[in-house]
């Protein structure tokens, strides 16, 4: 088993899950972005989860594609604030705070 589930994350990181639950990403699982967390859950000192920060990663959901139009906030990665990482302006745990 690789994915621990949100409840497992909340056992230690309840501050983060609480922050997450107040924003637009409320229904996301931690492991949607942070990858599988079971190894970290079992051995937090040995294995850590990933913290993706590249623009391309946010773009997997948020780059413009007419197929998902109106379903989700979208931007054109090649035009929108090109020189900065998304997370410099948007807190991924609460993107519009």
């Amino acid at each position: 088993m690789q994915y621990a589930g949100k409840d497992a994350c909340a056992e230690c990181h309840d501050d983060k899950t609480e922050e997450l639950s107040s924003g637009m990403h409320a229904n996301l699982s931690c492991e949607t972005c942070h990858g599988p967390g079971m190894k970290h859950y079992d051995n937090p000192d040995v294995t850590n989860i990933i913290k993706p920060s590249e623009r391309a990663f946010c773009g997997i959901c948020h780059s413009f594609n007419p197929t998902r139009k109106d379903k989700i906030a979208q931007i054109d990665l090649s035009e929108h604030n090109v020189d900065n990482k998304c997370i410099e302006c948007h807190n991924p745990h609460n993107p519009w705070e």
Binding site: M1, Y3, E31, I60, S63, N65, T67, K71
Partner: protein, 256 residues
Amino acid sequence: MGISSKEQSRRKFIKSAAVAAGGLLATGMINPFNAVLFAMDRPEDPTKPWWGYAIDITKCIGCGRCANACKTENNVPREPFYFRTWVEQYTILNDGTVKVESPNGGIDGFKQTVAEEDIFKSFFVPKMCNHCSKSPCVQVCPVGATYVTPDGVVLVDETYCIGCRYCVQACPYGCRYIHPEKNVADKCTLCYHRISKGKTTACVEVCPTQARMLGDLNDKKGPLVKFLKEHNCLVLKPHLNTGSKLYYNELSQEVG
């Protein structure tokens, strides 16, 4: 003069036709057409879980996190064309052509190459094993390696499988492949190792828009049955009578 032989044979024909029609009608009464929810067989034990799955096409944004998580959770080979679940992007153009794309199963995300003004309709369709209750793959397996669990999950016993590929051919949904290292058939297990411990599948866990839903079809008040009641769900290729337990909300006719 007696009845001509021509007339006699006509009478015979009408008689036998009436018998055949009556027979058909009687069979129809014994086994009437079922609602989509029960187009499959009934569960063996209605007091235990009987897993079904729903996908809401209106919610899917084509991020491919499900396909990615599935490969991670189940050690599916990373190279393309080995998938237990994947996402397809359907684009129906104004001129009527249908374009279906699934680059790396959607794991690296999708790009829409058709200009927006040329699109009539476009949507994502996640695909995976339909966990059919009358599944063709189980029927063709010559060694009984593929079977259905009492809780309605189609599995492969890799110690029995001889890698003959019959099931890969038989699955009308293209949901099986031969594992390149093990040389046995491999497919979605509905994360059996997870659901039997009370967790949900990896694909459902990571889906950011709750487009995927695992549920118990025996739980008449459960979220899956509620979803099926409230939405007009269809199964893929219903004419094949596979008894699919994978239900799609807003499934378009173009999806094969």
